[in-house]
């Protein structure tokens, strides 16, 4: 005699787990990044290889600072959700959990560092 119903056994076991929130989050951030990424490439890109004074003067302007901040924040949250799917696809059990935790922490740490660095230059 098996007491688990089909519904009970299936709940939470599918690829979607908690439903469509993850998918919708990736959709929203990907649309935002389609706008942010070209802006980022053409505002931040030209600064690579410039001298220290030029770089700090450049990022004290609102537009380059805000574009860089938005791209790092939205991009790294998008990365956090994307790398979670990557880990879920290739790892199981404890290593899956550890890697998801590690990469989530790396993503948030990178966001905090980027915000701190740009704020310190801009303000």
């Amino acid at each position: 005699m098996v007491f688990l119903t089909d519904r009970k056994r299936a709940t939470g076991m599918g690829a979607a787990k908690t439903g469509t929130a993850h998918f919708w989050g990736m959709t929203v951030s990907s649309v935002a990044l389609l706008i942010l990424v070209p802006l980022f490439i053409f505002t931040v890109g030209p600064m690579l290889g410039e001298n220290h004074a030029t770089v700090t003067a450049y990022f004290s302007h609102p537009f380059p600072a805000i574009v860089a901040l938005l791209t790092f924040i939205v991009g790294l949250l998008h990365f956090k959700n994307g790398v979670t799917v990557l880990i879920e696809d290739y790892l199981q059990g404890l290593s899956r959990k550890i890697w998801i935790i590690v990469m989530t922490c790396v993503s948030y740490a990178a966001i905090a560092t980027a915000v701190f660095a740009i704020a310190r230059i801009a303000l």
């Binding site: 990044l33 490439i41 770089v55 790092f72 660095a117």
Partner: protein, 127 residues
């Protein structure tokens, strides 16, 4: 149904048996480029942190990012960023129910490859 045989059932053939196809290869490269972009993202954040700290710290980050190693990472990342963006655009199109026919999906794969190379060349030469 609840006591169905689990774990000892026939599996459908997987990646190893298939000839590489435009749809599968262009898809796996979206995943590879997206995740590999962490490397240059962290490099750029380090570069900004160094710029906010001191001239000496910036000199080190600037040296690394403009070295031959930095150049290779940045140019590859630029391509990865364009390719992943076009791949994301393809997903957004697919999500509306359009472009799912094999011919269209394969054509979009070619557009991603050629488009990302053209955009990378244009970006590199515009700087």
């Amino acid at each position: 149904m609840a006591d169905v045989n689990r774990g000892n059932r026939p599996l459908s053939p997987h990646l190893t048996i298939y000839r590489p196809q435009m749809t599968s290869i262009s898809s796996i490269f979206v995943r590879i480029t997206g995740n590999a972009l962490l490397v240059s993202t962290l490099l750029l954040i380090w570069w900004l942190l160094a710029a906010s700290s001191s001239a000496a710290a910036f000199a080190v980050a600037d040296y690394v990012i403009t070295s031959w190693f930095g150049d290779i990472v940045m140019v590859l990342s630029l391509w990865a960023l364009w390719y992943h963006s076009l791949g994301g655009l393809r997903h957004l199109i697919w999500d509306t129910g359009r472009g799912l026919e094999l011919k269209t999906a394969e054509r979009m794969g070619w557009m991603m490859i050629i488009g990302s190379l053209v955009l990378t060349a244009l970006t590199v030469f515009s700087f």
